[in-house]
Symmetry: C2
Subunit: 326 residues, 2 copies
């Protein structure tokens, strides 16, 4: 799609001038910021911000500062999350705390958080900065809460799929919601007009997370290039595992529970968990969740006063996403 | 002084309603924020913000959101600095990362940083939010840079007193500068009118740090309740140590250098370092630094268009500070 290509290239240029303008010193700090922001990402959130604007007005470049702010913020959360999750790799490279040390990584995140706010100050004067900042900061604060809930969940064994989806929503999906919503607010629409776009982004974010989990267990390895069951190996309590727990017979439930307590998980055990996922139709249930979530979001857009051609564009993006699954 | 008392009590009430309005969950996160913000502090920075406003207009309560923002921001830096410095105590209590764990402490700091920005959104509509935020975020970002420089300094052995004061300036004094300046900007004065107040706060902050170092080595233990030479015991390269290094004969310089490399420092060694401080008039040189800095700041205020009675008030505050030393 040509529009998305232009948006992507406009964003990359905008990001590059931000990176070029960073101070030279302290070298460690700004090297690290350049390192993480230059590494190729999908740039989903910046594109969402530009699309959220485009739905109401064609001149989407006005939303570039918000696209930048959200991308910087997102990467700040990755830097601090990787410290907390003891993650050693990120996008195929050493994570910031591994490469630069934990102390520097804490500061790198802090500076990025501050820079994300500074990026919003680049919005033009016609924008209601107060309103954009209000949503930006309340959502960001919620994302940090989500990270804490996530850490708490790791210790609980009775999390149900509803709670899990709420946590994922709070920790990740809201940021995609905020992206679309910020774009809309910058285009100058009222808060209640921007709301369906928040919901739409939130739904996409949630569906995206479900799809990520799904691909790990059911994806075609020849296409993903990954070994199936990586999440199981890492003992991640994904939505799939929770769905299995909710549907399994006592004996299988005990097996699923015990596997998460193992020191190291063998290939045989991964195979057995995947068998149980098949037995209890975890794939079908997860796909149904994603479908329902996206259908609900589309309905919100249809019932809003968003122009029909713009709504179609949003739907196409949602559908492309789900195609990865089926 | 009655004015300062009223300001203090207005600030404590304002802070308390912020704390009362915090969400209940995640309990750990918000307990920690309440823990650190309720612990009694000098509230220097909030008072500075209110004074910066008061210099231009009596209705200083309009600056309360900025006073709150700066206090939350300051405490955020303490939470993250304590992690990096492996500091176990803060104001006589366990530091946040000791009490709640490092992972939670990282998140606590992040949420406080975001909340500090949110507090600024409580400023009334007449305030130029864009301008206040611009100074707030550029100063905060500089403070994080200062923390990195500080970590780098710890590893260098050739830091001179000019560089040291620059680092302290960047890491701590700028925040007191920002406090006075924000108050002034909220009162509606132009940027160049607010500038002398930034300089004044910066100077007070710098002098305050010098005085803190001075008291540790030369203060009256019967009044401070602390054993002399605590900084030497902790192998801190304070301004005093740097001044001594700059003035000492080769043999004494070697001694001062070696002491910083010891595993643990004995009372005899502390005594010897203090003797060298006396020998090279480190106290006199440090006091002269503080005097010069404050005199320069007062001159900036005198040469500005700040009303004479308000200028006198600022000078009295500066003088009270220096009295602690002499």
């Amino acid at each position: 799609m040509d529009l998305l290509k232009s948006m992507r290239s406009d964003f990359e240029n905008y990001l590059q001038s931000y990176l070029d303008d960073l101070p030279e010193r302290p070298a460690k700090l700004y090297d690290a910021i350049k390192h993480i922001l230059s590494s190729p990402g999908k740039r989903l959130r910046p594109l969402a911000a530009l699309l959220g604007y485009y739905v109401f007005d064609n001149d989407y470049k006005r939303a570039l500062p918000a696209a930048l702010a959200i991308e910087i913020f997102h990467n700040f959360t990755l830097v601090h999350d990787d410290i907390m999750d003891r993650a050693e790799m990120r996008r195929g490279q050493a994570s910031v705390h591994v490469k630069y040390g934990t102390d520097t990584a804490i500061m790198v995140g802090d500076v990025m958080m501050i820079h994300s706010i500074r990026a919003l100050l680049l919005l033009d004067e016609e924008v209601n900065l107060d309103l954009v900042l209000d949503h930006f900061t309340s959502t960001s604060s919620g994302i940090c809460e989500g990270q804490i809930f996530d850490m708490e969940f790791e210790k609980r064994k009775d999390v149900n799929s509803k709670e899990y989806l709420e946590m994922v929503g709070l920790k990740t999906a809201v940021l995609l919601g905020l992206s679309f919503q910020s774009g809309a607010l910058i285009a100058g629409v009222e808060e209640d007009q921007a709301e369906p776009l928040f919901e739409f982004g939130y739904a996409i974010g949630l569906a995206f997370q479900i799809i990520d989990d799904w691909i790990d267990a059911f994806g075609d390895s020849s296409q993903t290039g990954k070994v199936r069951g990586g999440d199981i190996k890492q003992k991640k309590k994904t939505l799939l595992w929770i769905i299995a727990m909710e549907n399994a017979e006592e004996e299988d439930k005990a097996y699923l529970e015990n596997v998460m307590r193992e020191e190291a998980i063998t290939d045989r055990q991964i195979e057995r968990v995947l068998q149980l996922y098949h037995l209890y139709d975890v794939s079908g249930i997860a796909l149904q969740y994603a479908d329902d979530i996206l259908a609900g979001a589309k309905e919100k857009i249809t019932n809003s006063d968003i122009a029909k051609d713009k709504a179609e564009l949003l739907f196409k993006i949602a559908d492309d996403l789900v195609k990865r699954m089926k």
